[in-house]
Symmetry: C2
Subunit: 410 residues, 2 copies
C-alpha cells in the first residue's frame, strides 16, 4: 500500500536504509600491489621509521657543516675527499674535521658528517681536494631518519581508498599485504514486459534493456561487482524467484522496475516477500526519480529503480552508489566525482523536492561552465550528452545563471 | 652528452615525443557490456531511430488532443475508454473521436491518438467512461519516434571514453559490440643499486622500491596495463638487456632511474641503444622533475623518470599519462581528474619553470580549499598526504592565497 509511505527527502531515505544495515564489513586480504582503489579495513601504522638512515637529497659531498662556515667564492673552505659512499651500502667512511666524502642523491650519510654540499657549490683542486664555495647549515640537503614517516606514526585509517601513491607509501614500509573490504556484489534485475535484450531486434512497443548496463557501470565505478540477472517478466511468481536468487547470490539487489503502475507495485510486493523489514521507503522527493523504492531484506539493501533511464541513473547515484561505498566502509567519497563550474543558464525548481539537472561541462573563457542539457527524463541520450548532474536543493526555487554549482560527474 | 640537450618546457617536450609516435592505434573488438572506460576507435551512428515508436511518458489515457480542447474541472471532456495498450506490443486499438485507451508510461501510442492525459487529470465515471479535467496539446506526454536519437545521427566520435550512460545508450540501439583501443602495455623497470624489493628488509643504505607501484597505479588509472619488470642493477649490460626485454613485451617503456648522476646517464645510454631516434629530451623545466629523459625507440615511447618518488609521480603525470591516453586516441581527458579550489597559502615560484606543488583538498566554509603540503620532494608520504597537485605556470612568480587554482587529482 504505497499510501502508507511518506515521500522522503533523499538524505533521510538513505539514512533510514543505512541505519538498518549491519555494521560489519566483509574483509579480504590482498597483495598491496593489487589493492588500487580498494578500501582499507584496518588502521595502519609504521613499524619502522622512513627513511631508516640519513640520506643525501643532492649529488655532492657529505661534510661537517662547521667546516664550511664562512666559506665563500673569495674565501673557500678546503676539504680533503676521503672516498665515495657506495649506493645501497652502509658507508665505512667516517668524516673528520676538514674531510668530505662523495655522496650522490639517496646515499647514506657517513658518520661524522651532518650536511651535504651540492656539487655545483664546490670546485675540484686535484684528485683528493676540493674547495667549498658556500657554507651549509647542519642538516642541509639531508633527509633525517623518520623525516618522511616517524616510527609508530599512523599511516591510514580504516575506510581509506587506496590511490597509486598510497600503494607506493605502503611498499616503502614493507607493508606488502593489506586487509580491504570485499567488493560488494550487486545483483541487477531488469523487469518490464516491454523490455528485451539488446541483442534482439525490438518489435513494435518493445525497447532494449538499458538500465542493467548503466547501473552495472555505476556499480563497477563505485567499487562493486555487478551481477546482471537478465530481464524478468512482470509476473509476481517469476519476479519473486528471480529476486530471491539474486539476493542470495549478492550483497545488494537492484530491481529496475517496469514502468507501469502495476509493475511498480509488484516490485514493492516482491521486496516485502524477500525478508524483514522489507520496503522502508516508497517515493522520494526527487525529480526525476520520485517512484523510488528502498528497503532492507534480512540485512541486505534492495533498491527499486524507476524504469526510465535518466531517473534510474539519478536514483542509482543517490542511493546505490553511497550504499556500495558504505558497505566497504568508505569514509570520504573520492573528490574526483565532484567539480565546480559556473551555471550557464537559469534553472527553476519547486521547493520541497531535490531537482537533478543534467549538465554538460564546457571550458570557455578559461573556466568551466555547467550547461544544462534539457530533455524529457526518458531520453537515454540526454545522459549521453551530459557529463554530470547538479542538484537544486530541497528548499530552493532555482539557481541563477553565473552562480557556482557543484557537478556530480558520471 | 646531456649538455647537447636543451631543457624543454613540459608541453614542448610532450609534443616532440608525440610527433615522433606512429599515429595508428591498436584496436580490439569487445562486447559493449565489457567496454566501460575504454576508448572508442570508431565513429558510431544510429542505424535506427530511438524510440522506434511513439511512447507515453506518463500513466494515463491516449487520446486525440482536439477532443480535450477547452476541457476544465467545471466543464470536463467525456471520453469512452475502448481498452488498454498492453506493454511491449503493438496496440491493435485505434482511437477515434471521443475515445481513449489506457496507456502506461512506456506504452506504444495507438493509432489515431496524438497525446496522453495524465491519470491525475481524469476522473472515472464508470467502467468505460472518463472525464478529462484539463486540455492537452498534440504531442503532450509523448516521446515521438527519433526524439531521443534520429536515424543516422552521430552517437560518438572515435576517441570517446565510454561511461556507464554511454554503454546504456549503445545497448538501447542494439550496438552490442564495439571497437576500442587495446590497452597500452607499459613495462616498468626500477633501477638503483640502493633499491630493494618491498618484501625484503632494507639494510643500511637500502630503500624499498616505491616507483614501480605508484607508476603502475597511474598506468592502470590512465587505461594502460602495467607490466612491472622488477629491479635492475645499475650496470649497462644488465640494464640494456632488461630494457630490451621490457620494450619488446610492451608498447611503452618506463625506467625509474637510480638517483646518482652516473645511473641517470646510464638510462640515456640504454635508451639510445634501444632504437631510433633514441633520447629526444634530456631535462625539462619542471620542479620537481628536471632530470627527466624522454625518447622514442623504433616507434615506442620511453620515459626515464627521476628516482625520487615525488618527482617520479609528477613526471609520470605530465608525460606517461598523456602518452597512454594518446596511444588510445583519447580526444578529451576525463574531467574528473581536475577540480577547482581556493588556494589557502601563498606559493612563490621562479619564472622559467613549471612548479608542481602538492596540495590537500579541504572542505571548509562550504567551499574547497587547496592546502599546500610542503615537503622535500623525496618524501613519499608528502604524496600520501596530498590529493593532487597544482601547477604554477612557466612564466609565473607565484600564486596568491585566495586565488582559484585547478588541482590535478591523483
Amino acid at each position: 500500500m504505497p499510501e502508507m509511505f511518506q515521500v522522503l527527502p533523499p538524505a533521510n531515505a538513505l539514512k533510514l536504509i543505512c541505519d538498518h544495515l549491519p555494521s560489519n564489513i566483509r574483509v579480504e586480504e590482498l597483495a598491496t600491489a593489487e589493492s588500487l582503489d580498494r578500501v582499507l579495513t584496518e588502521r595502519l601504522t609504521a613499524a619502522t621509521a622512513l627513511p631508516s638512515f640519513p640520506r643525501s637529497t643532492m649529488d655532492g659531498y657529505a661534510v661537517r657543516a662547521a667546516d664550511t662556515f664562512g666559506a665563500s667564492e673569495s674565501l673557500p673552505a678546503y676539504l680533503s675527499v676521503i672516498g665515495e659512499v657506495a649506493m645501497g651500502q652502509a658507508s665505512q667512511l667516517s668524516i673528520d674535521t676538514a674531510q668530505a666524502a662523495v655522496a650522490y642523491t639517496g646515499a647514506m650519510i657517513p658518520s661524522g658528517a651532518d650536511a651535504v654540499v651540492m656539487i655545483e657549490r664546490t670546485q675540484k683542486l686535484d684528485d683528493t681536494n676540493i674547495e667549498v664555495l658556500r657554507a651549509v647549515a647542519p642538516g642541509e640537503n639531508i633527509i633525517n631518519i623518520g623525516e618522511d614517516v616517524k616510527e609508530g606514526a599512523e599511516l591510514f585509517d580504516a575506510g581509506h581508498i587506496l590511490r597509486p601513491q598510497d600503494i607506493g607509501g605502503l611498499m616503502a614500509l614493507g607493508i606488502t599485504r593489506v586487509r580491504v573490504a570485499a567488493k560488494p556484489r550487486v545483483a541487477i534485475i531488469s523487469t518490464g514486459d516491454e523490455v528485451i535484450s539488446p541483442e534482439s531486434t525490438p518489435g513494435p512497443g518493445q525497447i532494449r534493456d538499458v538500465n542493467t548496463y548503466t547501473v552495472a557501470g555505476l556499480v563497477a565505478r563505485a567499487g562493486g561487482i555487478p551481477l546482471p540477472q537478465g530481464i524478468v517478466r512482470d509476473d509476481y511468481e517469476t519476479l519473486v524467484s528471480a529476486a530471491r536468487a539474486g539476493i542470495d547470490a549478492a550483497d545488494v539487489l537492484v530491481i529496475s522496475a517496469g514502468s507501469s503502475v502495476s509493475t511498480r507495485d509488484l516490485s514493492a510486493d516482491v521486496l516485502n516477500s524477500l525478508g524483514q523489514p522489507g520496503v522502508m521507503v516508497h517515493g522520494v522527493s526527487v525529480k526525476p526519480g520520485k517512484p523510488t523504492i528502498l528497503g532492507v531484506c534480512n540485512g541486505k539493501p534492495v533498491v527499486g529503480l524507476p524504469g526510465n533511464p535518466v531517473s534510474a541513473m539519478v536514483v542509482a547515484g543517490l542511493f546505490l552508489v553511497p550504499l556500495i561505498r558504505k558497505m566497504q566502509g568508505v569514509v570520504r567519497a573520492p573528490a574526483s566525482q565532484r567539480v565546480t563550474a559556473k551555471l550557464s543558464h537559469n534553472i527553476s525548481s519547486v521547493p520541497g523536492r531535490e531537482d537533478y539537472v543534467q549538465v554538460r561541462l564546457v571550458e570557455r573563457d578559461d573556466q568551466f561552465w555547467a550547461e544544462p542539457v534539457f530533455g524529457k527524463s526518458n531520453l537515454i541520450y540526454s545522459l549521453v550528452k551530459s557529463d554530470g548532474m547538479i542538484c537544486v536543493p530541497l528548499d530552493s526555487s532555482g539557481v541563477h545563471k553565473g552562480e557556482l554549482v557543484e557537478i556530480e560527474l558520471f
